[in-house]
Assembly symmetry: none
Homo-oligomer: 168 residues x 2
């Protein structure tokens, strides 16, 4: 096999896709949305993704996983790509996102602890509960539905409040 990914200096769509674990459709979508620069083409019209593409796509994936939107990401990455100073709005966006991420980090850490504790507790209960007993595991979920004003993307807890469409 020639899937010597690490040493690649350019990628064909399928190679890059399988290297990062997404579909070529997804790569094409990213390109459409502007988070991936349009790659040059080989003689036959195939995309030839440049060297750093793997890292780039992984970056996008990370960003998405923490709640970025492709559009937001596109704005930021485009600015970054042309190297110069970003316009204020994009700088603001990045700053807001940074705060957001930091907040998520806290919330998620708390969540991890709670969840871990919960699971541990459950395992204890399950061990001593006959299989026919309710044991009501879900009732033990002590996660507060604190209406955290909201603000973070993937943090379910914060997103759970109301969000009016017209109210903004």
């Amino acid at each position: 096999m020639s899937d010597n990914f690490a040493i690649r200096t350019s990628w064909l769509a399928g190679e890059l896709a399988s290297a990062v674990g997404v579909s070529t459709d997804t790569l094409r979508h990213y390109e459409r949305k502007g988070v991936l620069p349009r790659p040059s083409r080989t003689a036959n019209g195939y995309r030839r993704y440049p060297e750093g593409s793997l890292e780039r796509v992984l970056l996008v994936r990370r960003a998405l996983s923490v709640g970025f939107t492709l559009d937001q990401l596109a704005a930021i990455l485009r600015e970054r790509d042309n190297g110069g100073a970003p316009c204020r709005q994009v700088r603001e966006l990045a700053g807001a996102k940074l705060l957001d991420v930091e907040e998520q980090l806290k919330a998620l850490t708390a969540m991890k602890d709670e969840l871990a504790g919960l699971v541990a507790e459950w395992d204890r209960l399950l061990a001593e509960t006959p299989m026919d007993e309710p044991a009501g595991l879900l009732h033990g979920m002590s996660l507060e539905t604190r209406s955290t004003k909201n603000g973070s993307a993937k943090l379910p807890l914060s997103q759970m409040s109301r969000k009016r469409k017209s109210q903004k």
Copy 2:
């Protein structure tokens, strides 16, 4: 106001909805999806949610916030409602969710660094660049860190890959 929620023994749709902070549409949706048992009706056809409904809905909200899906939840709760002990399933799902959370934490940390670096770099650039270019890119980009507006909320990075419809 008669929002004497705590002492209610039965609820009208709107009452319950505002008590838990969701819309009646959402309650109806939950019913459709099977996470809320279909309530009895008053003479005029209005839903009369039974006593424990507030807790039930809060439970659903909590579970959603931890990453459960309405469908997963429906399966579990239906089981439980007619006497079963779905605890093992719950334990399993929670365990999976915990793994997701841990992975998410990694992504968040990486993202924080990435973003912080970028912002720092930009601020450096901005500081030494005369503001000659307004550069009003970003047409309608809301600075609002608009969280998961809805739907497709948190994609656990682990299962962010492709998901076959038929292959489950």
